[in-house]
């Protein structure tokens, strides 16, 4: 974990709502970053907004020591981030949090992502590709235009299935059909989800029905992102007990079965 001054290489609009940003790290090696982890980013040099903003690592490029992020332009912080230009220096803190668990020798993984949730899961997909694990991804979005990084995933061999709200294909029952089709025919032994409560519930059901290893990446408002402030808590079930954990430290990745919805 370091506070790094990273150079912005690009910060481009992907579509109406989303942006892609790439930064260069000069003083340490990105190979220590793992899928599921996130960075706490100071969107602007002056203190408006004051707090950092957490963003998952979308892609780790060991060859040129760069990191990539995908983000939704939402409120004051991401609006400031959107204005930042290539060549500018971005203050990022990380890597933070825990990582997805990849079975070495796993048979295949299914990613169920909603919206910018694919940012978090993509890092995992790229790692699966390196580990030669087949990877399938359901990408759900409001509209066709909002589907993210399909091409980038296809390029590394991830088979993508696109659903959206406009044609109704994104409702959980439709997604279930697609997922079951994949699980039944493509040798999948793990499922990972991010970005939607409805899809998380579906993923848990699927994981139970098909005995899949299952993880989820969660979000909560963060202060320190270093385990100090207890802002980012979330309840988890451990046996009969409900425990409160900090997502920035004990997450953002959790076993799907432990999460209390």
């Amino acid at each position: 974990m370091k506070e790094t001054q990273a150079e912005i290489l690009c910060n481009e609009k992907l579509n109406r709502r989303y942006r892609h940003m790439k930064v260069k790290i000069s003083d340490w090696n990105v190979s220590e970053v793992n899928p599921g982890q996130f960075f706490h980013i100071k969107t602007t040099e002056d203190n408006l907004p004051l707090l950092r903003r957490p963003f998952s690592i979308y892609r780790i490029n060991e060859d040129n020591n760069t990191l990539e992020f995908l983000y939704l332009v939402k409120g004051v912080g991401t609006k400031k981030l959107e204005e930042r230009k290539p060549g500018e220096i971005l203050d990022i803190l990380g890597p933070l949090g825990n990582t997805f668990t990849i079975h070495q020798g796993g048979k295949g993984m299914l990613l169920v992502a909603r919206g910018v949730g694919i940012a978090t899961l993509s890092a995992l997909a790229f790692a699966a590709n390196k580990a030669d694990i087949p990877c399938f991804a359901v990408l759900s979005a409001r509209s066709k235009e909002d589907i993210l990084v399909e091409k980038e995933l296809n390029e590394v061999g991830v088979k993508t299935f696109l659903v959206n709200d406009q044609d109704g294909s994104s409702d959980p029952e439709s997604v279930r059909l697609i997922a079951e089709e994949i699980i039944n025919h493509r040798q999948v032994d793990s499922i990972y989800t991010c970005g939607s409560k409805r899809l998380s519930v579906l993923s848990r059901e699927l994981s139970e029905e098909y005995s899949l290893f299952a993880e989820i990446a969660l979000e909560e408002k963060m202060g320190c992102a270093m385990g100090a402030c207890y802002a980012c808590v979330c309840d988890v079930r451990e046996g009969d007990e409900i425990r409160t954990i900090r997502l920035c430290q004990d997450g953002p990745v959790l076993p799907l079965k432990k999460v209390v919805f």
Partner: protein, 312 residues
């Protein structure tokens, strides 16, 4: 090199900068050299395990943030067995912040923690609600404050720091009550009660509805409180609220603070306390100040002003 030593009563600090309770934790040792800090102040501890408040627990405001963590706590046993030994590895003194629901509980926890050699001083968080008084904070009532401090004074010889609540009509009266009760120093101050509503959902932005605001937006309120307390009380003051940089720390010292706690700024830049120390040194060099004693309370041209009334 400039001498940054300050003293808080009998407690000698190598420099005036320390974290504010609740904004600092063991995990930060990975990024911040704790040995460079004036003191270490972990999150307030309670007697028993506390779950804390519902989420969302923080929200951002213009120049600040509201929090309502609810003193989530692992309880006294964990604190004594794990937390204190962890912090005792560092050379900077450990100040234990204590929260409780009643005077008895404050006394019990203080007594137990006082017995630990590793603990250099106690800071009582008297902004927490007193369950015996309808949940009104201890620090909002001078008599309750005096009683609480006297009770804890009976059970400890360690330096006893009282962290005042800023949500009062006259902080001078509370400061004097704490002094009367036997306090060694005062932290001025905890967070201001605040609230924010999301106009789109119509819901409060904080799960607990209200919370405490911290950050640069409150600094002018805190500088005023420090000035007021400095004028009426003889106790050393630890300034706290909105410090983001070295100049903010100097401003509080000019107003009367002997040391300064840094809270929210740690979230913005986790090593900010070291930057602040450097900026204080630069300032001392620029103005040829050899000891911080030369600036504590040394605001110029300020007639004794009780800080009451309106000035619009």
């Amino acid at each position: 090199m400039a001498n940054l030593e300050v003293s808080i009563g009998s407690l000698k600090l190598k420099n005036p900068i320390m974290p504010a309770s609740g904004t600092f934790g063991e995990e930060m040792a990975a990024i911040l050299d704790f040995n460079q800090l004036g003191a270490l102040v972990p999150k307030s501890i309670t007697k028993t395990v506390r779950k804390g408040n519902p989420t969302p627990r923080i929200c951002e405001t213009f120049g600040g943030m509201i929090n309502s963590i609810g003193i989530q706590s692992k309880g006294l046993d964990y604190y004594q067995q794990i937390t204190v030994p962890f912090y005792s590895k560092f050379s900077s003194p450990l100040i234990s912040s204590i929260s409780a629901d009643s005077i008895d509980e404050f006394t019990e926890v203080s007594e137990k923690i006082s017995q630990m050699e590793e603990v250099a001083a106690l800071e009582l968080n008297i902004s927490c609600p007193n369950l015996k008084k309808d949940g009104m904070a201890f620090g909002m009532d001078a008599n309750v404050t005096r009683d609480l401090v006297s009770a804890v004074r009976q059970v400890t010889d360690k330096p006893l720091i009282i962290k005042l609540s800023p949500n009062v009509t006259n902080i001078g009266v509370i400061a004097l009550a704490a002094e009367d009760g036997g306090a060694d120093a005062l932290t001025v101050a905890n967070t201001f009660i605040a609230m924010a509503i999301d106009v789109h959902t119509r819901k409060p932005k904080i799960g607990n509805v209200i919370g405490g605001i911290s950050g640069p937006s409150i600094k002018p309120l805190v500088v005023r409180l420090i000035h007021q307390v400095y004028q009426v009380s003889n106790l050393p003051i630890i300034g706290c609220g909105g410090v983001m940089n070295g100049e903010d720390a100097i401003e509080m010292m000019l107003a009367g603070a002997s040391a300064v706690q840094v809270g929210t700024a740690n979230f913005v830049h986790p090593t900010v306390m070291l930057t602040i120390l450097q900026e204080i040194q630069d300032y001392m060099e620029q103005y040829q100040i050899t000891s911080l004693k030369e600036i504590i309370g040394k605001i110029e041209g300020s007639n004794q002003h009780d800080g009451m009334g309106s000035f619009n």
